[in-house]
Point group: none
Chain length 227, copies 4
DNA sequence: AATGAATGAGGGTTCATTCAT
DNA sequence: TATGAATGAACCCTCATTCAT
């Protein structure tokens, strides 16, 4: 009945552990199954919302994709709207968690930022997570709660982090433009643009995001001597 | 009854002229009324689509806002979907027309770009036109025709124009970063970000777009001595 | 603007005559033009009603086919429903007129009936007039006025005429079955069936109506010695 | 996809029985309720389509008559059109089934045919089943699938059966007219006419179908000595 | 807890009818 | 008189939500 929960994450979130003993241990108690189901719904809903937007997404499709009955969704979420809002929270929280776990800043500021950029390119641009950004841009105005949450949890923290890095860069003499610290948006703008570009225009004009970001960093830090 | 036709184009197309003599000239011939109606529908639809997105917009509301009957919409547009697609065209075409009418490039490249930026700030960021950009980002994936059109008419031309300017700047020695010509996106990225920021986060953290764009240009052209 | 009125009949009904002198005589006075228009509408409406049935026929299509504006229809008919009812009358009356103008009955009863059958085959079965019969069968229950009219003008007269013929045949010894006079329907039944068959099943199994009617007459009058 | 529980079949399949003991036995399992609903929809739709024709029938009315919500109809049928087509099938199939179950042909051909005629008079002429015939005549041209189905399942089989009987009659010397075998339509024509007559003209001129069919058989088999 | 059949409000679309020109 | 743009009631169909099992 239950179909491939697809989502490793989900299972993990549910606290499932690989059966240690033999014989497919009866790991599945009630609560766990419920958590799995919930995770499957979240996963499925995310896919559908990203693919079609909030209004055009049908609960029927979410249920089908999650391998549960339509009614089951209502055991986990009050209604479509609050499902959407919770969803964004659920998906974003682990992202934030990772941001918080900043690796110790060894090396130059530019190296640090390049590492960030590399991560971003691999894990956001052109991936489902990137589409989530677009989804928030798309639905934000109709879901102030979502926009607020996203601002609070991701944008404001991200901006603060970037600003700190920029200030460090300025202090170390890596960055000349002192005013840049007032607008960390400038630092991340090309990355955001890359995300949008990929989902709208990649077909017409593929964009080498990695190269673009490097050029952008050159603009800020000065061109590198060594590649 | 008819509300602010806003849409200069439509009124013009209808050949309307301000009544010169007294006596409220009988300006209303058939074609003109039709053009006014159409303009009212376009205007109303734009507002609604921007406010709610494609799927959540009701034709009933568009009709009400435009002051026409629901059936009237179907005299001008085949259905909701093609109305949306035509709408984007209708609103964007005059923008493109203006882009084509480039003013003679006197003065420095930076001056030219600053002029652009000024225009953009006044006429796009924080205006309905800006929301249109967000709308296209939001609905693009579900309306390839819209994304295609927008890419062809606006993005590709804009990129080409920016690239030409950048190359000019490089040739004149105003811009140091030669690679920038490969990615005009970098030049416009902060402006786009400003557009999005205004409609999503302005409430939480107002953004001084003008100042940010100036900082960004300083990054590219070097800081100005005189403001 | 006005397109080919198609309908010779219509023009005739309107009293139009071929211009005798040269120069396209100014035959068109108001009344005549109106009559032409009306005839064109009747013709067009008939085609559409037959092709689609009452409910599925659009006045728009009738107007287009008749080469008039939609509003014009309302100058001639109160509404769609009464148009339909009048239509049937208009089309049927000339048929009835012809029935009344019975040719002098020379020859045998069988010859007379065969002449009828021949006419019927040529002018009804498989023609638009035949479809009219099917239309009446189809819409009769929802248009009692139509059914009534058709019964009064066509069916009852036809039955009376047939009965008279049958009685004549019995009196002359051509027909043995005396009871047949009570059910003239039996005489015409195969002809009606042929009409229906042609429009429903001809594609699957073509029917040689002429031959079938001959066999039927043989049944009633006895087989002919000479063909 | 959809199963054909026909109506009678449906109720039976549901195993409903009059409660034997007191206390309204809990006869209602899920599947049964569904079958009942479906049957109610079929029944209601039939009534409405017969009364108003396809185009003029409103799903709202069908739902109301069937005692279900509008949406429920769509759980059983794809849309109005395919509902109509399936409906005809559902109602006709049991009729065909009965035709196939021919009783052993004892007695004369005439007796056999009179038995048929008697059945037809009781169960078709003037009943809802008769109206169905008229409905098919009415909508056939717009629903080729319906006409095709009806031809294949009812008409062609009926014609074949009648032809066989006629040939038997000829072989046994009951029927003189050898050519009749080529046109079994002649045999059934008066019965069909009776069906149509009843729904269109009965009000004006009641028709004694039984007597008419007897006269018709007399025409084919010769008049009976004994009544 | 989970199901999915049932509901019915709501929205896109059509089209008979009207009326200003 | 003729037009056809405009109207808005009505209809088919969808889909979020409920609830008996």
């Amino acid at each position: 009945m239950t179909k491939k929960p697809t989502m490793a994450t989900a299972a993990r979130a549910a606290g499932q552990k690989p059966a240690l003993g033999g014989k497919a241990a009866p790991v599945s108690n009630r609560a766990m199954r419920a958590a799995q189901r919930r995770a499957a719904i979240v996963e499925a809903a995310m896919e559908e919302f990203i693919a079609r937007g909030f209004a055009a997404t049908r609960l029927d499709d979410i249920a089908k994709r999650a391998g549960v009955a339509k009614g089951t969704i209502y055991l986990h979420f009050k209604d479509k709207e609050s499902m959407f809002e919770e969803l964004v929270r659920i998906v974003i929280v682990p992202v934030v968690a990772r941001l918080d776990a900043l690796p110790p800043s060894t090396g130059s500021v530019r190296d640090l930022i390049e590492m960030f950029a590399g991560n971003f390119i691999n894990e956001v641009i052109g991936t489902r997570r990137g589409d989530l950004v677009r989804l928030i841009v798309a639905e934000g105005p109709r879901f102030p709660a979502v926009a607020d949450f996203y601002y609070r949890e991701v944008v404001s923290r991200g901006m603060a982090g970037m600003r700190a890095l920029i200030e460090l860069g300025i202090a170390r003499g890596e960055i000349q433009q002192k005013n840049l610290a007032r607008y960390p948006q400038i630092l991340v703008a090309p990355a955001i643009i890359a995300v949008i570009w990929q989902s709208l225009f990649a077909r017409h004009a593929p964009l080498d995001a990695k190269d673009m970001l490097r050029v952008h960093l050159d603009l800020i830090f000065g061109e590198r001597r060594t590649t």
